[in-house]
Subunit: 295 residues, 4 copies
Amino acid sequence: MQFKVSANFDYTVNNPSTIVLSHLVHHSKQKVLFENLELTPEIFNEEISIGPENNRLTRINMIEPGNVKISYQAQVQTAFSITDFSQIQDTSVSNINPEIFPYLYPSRYCQSDKLTRFAEHEFGSIENVFDKVAAITDWIYDHVEYLSGSTNVETSAYDTVTQQAGVCRDFAHLGIALCRVLTIPARYCAVYAYQLAPQDFHACFEAYLGDKWVMFDATRLAPLNGFVKIAMGRDASDTAVSNLFGEVEGNSIEVNCELLNGEFQPFYNDRNNLKGLVYDNYQLCTEPSGACSTG
Amino acid sequence: MQFKVSANFDYTVNNPSTIVLSHLVHHSKQKVLFENLELTPEIFNEEISIGPENNRLTRINMIEPGNVKISYQAQVQTAFSITDFSQIQDTSVSNINPEIFPYLYPSRYCQSDKLTRFAEHEFGSIENVFDKVAAITDWIYDHVEYLSGSTNVETSAYDTVTQQAGVCRDFAHLGIALCRVLTIPARYCAVYAYQLAPQDFHACFEAYLGDKWVMFDATRLAPLNGFVKIAMGRDASDTAVSNLFGEVEGNSIEVNCELLNGEFQPFYNDRNNLKGLVYDNYQLCTEPSGACSTG
Amino acid sequence: MQFKVSANFDYTVNNPSTIVLSHLVHHSKQKVLFENLELTPEIFNEEISIGPENNRLTRINMIEPGNVKISYQAQVQTAFSITDFSQIQDTSVSNINPEIFPYLYPSRYCQSDKLTRFAEHEFGSIENVFDKVAAITDWIYDHVEYLSGSTNVETSAYDTVTQQAGVCRDFAHLGIALCRVLTIPARYCAVYAYQLAPQDFHACFEAYLGDKWVMFDATRLAPLNGFVKIAMGRDASDTAVSNLFGEVEGNSIEVNCELLNGEFQPFYNDRNNLKGLVYDNYQLCTEPSGACSTG
Amino acid sequence: MQFKVSANFDYTVNNPSTIVLSHLVHHSKQKVLFENLELTPEIFNEEISIGPENNRLTRINMIEPGNVKISYQAQVQTAFSITDFSQIQDTSVSNINPEIFPYLYPSRYCQSDKLTRFAEHEFGSIENVFDKVAAITDWIYDHVEYLSGSTNVETSAYDTVTQQAGVCRDFAHLGIALCRVLTIPARYCAVYAYQLAPQDFHACFEAYLGDKWVMFDATRLAPLNGFVKIAMGRDASDTAVSNLFGEVEGNSIEVNCELLNGEFQPFYNDRNNLKGLVYDNYQLCTEPSGACSTG
């Protein structure tokens, strides 16, 4: 499938400042057909690459006070497969790829170390490891209310599990933390999301099952196959949309994601069948729908 | 300088388990002259390398229940320089190396996002950036009581800043968190520490000042120039001595670090002069004492 | 029924200190047949009465350093009734006795304000208000592991609901907090407990249902009809066994509760029938068993 | 002095609900010259008295959905004395009035048990007990930023000591918690406050020094001698302006406090002289200014 995404930022700079943005589409496994970044006024900016997933950040150094507008458009081709995980084996730490290890550790917003008994009590006895993650996702959907403004940048999985209200970021953090307790590596994904209403940056998570990163979204606010990835990391601290250094204020952000091309069949998880969605390398996919296999 | 370090672990395994240990000396900038790892009984183990700092872990897969002893010895040559930081410029995010960025983010045990006002109020007006870190280190030493058993694996910088008791790990976490608020990249170091009494694994932290990682230790329990590095990371979640998967219990750990060779002049920070210690690449150092420069 | 209870304390005083103990049996509704308090050496002490429930405290002022032993025995007659609550109406704040109001407020260890969504989601749809409390009690019993040493004096209901381990005090705090969310007044009870093994001070809670304080104990470690009350309050901060002011150390506490007289049929809650236990005024009870009615 | 106070509330009731308001002026030590409470429409309401301080609450039971306006005016005569505390002795728990004891305990928003080391380190070595409280008040004023909207109903002293932003309620909670660590009884006061701008309900705290409740306000937003007391308690959980049971929404609150009569000399604490303000019984005061003594 092909998507057209855009993001427009508006900042007021009061003093020399540095803005670091995470909104460029990710390069791994998805093909960037077109991309344009425009700053008004024209200020020096550079793309930098961060962390084990090579997330692409834009660093903008603003010497002069004033207003800055940042306008970004891209066209991206994605591909995915839908796989039957009913026979999946547990991920074994005994031979897991070392690169995956850090996704088992607790992190700022995913304090898996504090959720041990809860996770084991609720989900420990589920046999199939894909079903465990599906059950976690369902639990979050059933118990946590999606409520804009109910949380802030300090809210973590430990809060959300009890307070049971939050936004996409909180849903993802809780999913990740619960997976890690059960020795399932899990990572945070910042994405553009087709059919998300209202449009905004979105967050979901991937669990590492049978040597694949499988996509989950406990909010169910957008189909799993309509995501265009921006960044992956341990949690939102690795993938913040913006990090502002200096006296600079954000005025507005506009985000959009449209289907450019291809027939779109929304895919959501359903615990009645253990099928999961994996984002594939677009190069291996020849189906125009982007749906390469339905194993 | 040359140090001889050793670590002996004793575990009881009840079911097939995986132990991941972080106790091998680090390879960067220090020279491993000799190294030996012995398991009793002889079980398969492998060395894996993790994260941006290439920390060396030992993964041990234990199929059979029973007792396992792990015995490690190494001889290591280290080198350091002591530099005058009185003219140091602030680290600027406008041109900082992208690899350094993640050390500005909040992490599991270093919730810099929750300590903003505290850190800015206490340390924000100090001019010299090295002096800021020295002041943070002094504040921790003055306010936090070193008290074995007062904290646990869930304790974080946010607890320690108020509860004011902890062990080396807590001292390091608080130092790191406060640095990050002030836009000073900081990372956790797990080390063997000469002259630490009683001997144990030790934790300290490095702050990134003028493109160098400068060593700090708010506990003052061991001299800064007697450390042999094991692992670096965002906090203790990246560098835990042991991660146990399965039914396995730790019985005992014995740690030791001795001076093998070289004259040792203990170095501690002192805010009256702004001299800091940087671990250099041993290859660039020809002084037998390991102290290459006292700029 | 008649119980014989005892408590022996041993303290070492290093400097002039004040010890305030809460171990005398409560006077309301139970009859103290015999009571003796002995201090070695003989130090001045006074009984003081605290708070809306007139809890009896012993205040001991120790001028001289040294060892102090406090030895207490009492014989107490209690009475209770077991009532069918299947037709109970909700407690209505519209006409509740003002004295009861504070038992609806959040308190130090029972932060009901932070558990709103959790409690309403889990228990809000249960119709009968007695059954709500029974369901809360069952949930705690099912989810929280009784684990000595897993918590400390700072642990609160907000921790326990997620971390799911604790001791009797933690079980009671969580029960109280969840009741208060649902507009059910609830209070903490410190008691001597017959058939508790090993013997120790025990904690349980009472919920205010249909103008009666009904006894609940989520630990199920001792029968509800074997309690001899010491103190009631909003939570453990109102009823701490000991408050020590000055340099004084506790060496040991020994507690005991025996049946002196009367046939004892252990009573526990069972959600299959909605029968609850209320401690009655002993004066109204003529049954030697202490069980006055089984309405 | 005589003050005229008023409070107007506007609620929308969707279902049968009970509103419990705490806005009537307190009766102890201050004289209510005139008082009027009007509800539109005219609904049944009753005054109830709560807790050891006999706080006056208004309970309003609303059967019918619709809009409710509550309008309150009162004229109150207060009296105070300003006393030199430079020779004050420490409050001794060895002979303190039992009624005072609960103001030493930790409470929902004043977790003194978690602030022990902090309070002792910062304030423990100050000799004079009045000066201790003055130092606490100054520390809060210097470190905590008054910032509307920065906190919410869950925010407690443990948060504020580190996060260092809040409103009057948070300033009071932190003051109370720190006093209690130092064995100084302290209680929360909800008041009308003359010269507070903008006008609103205000919160301050009293410390028990030498058998008197001495007024403190770490916000310094209004003079200590312009307060008209509404309620006292362990913290805001005892004195919430409104407790809403049922489906009812608050639309607006308007508060006012004016000087009716008497010359007003604003009084604030100043650590350079150890003079404190105590609200006296108006009956003992014959000075029209309400300032009875300046001992």
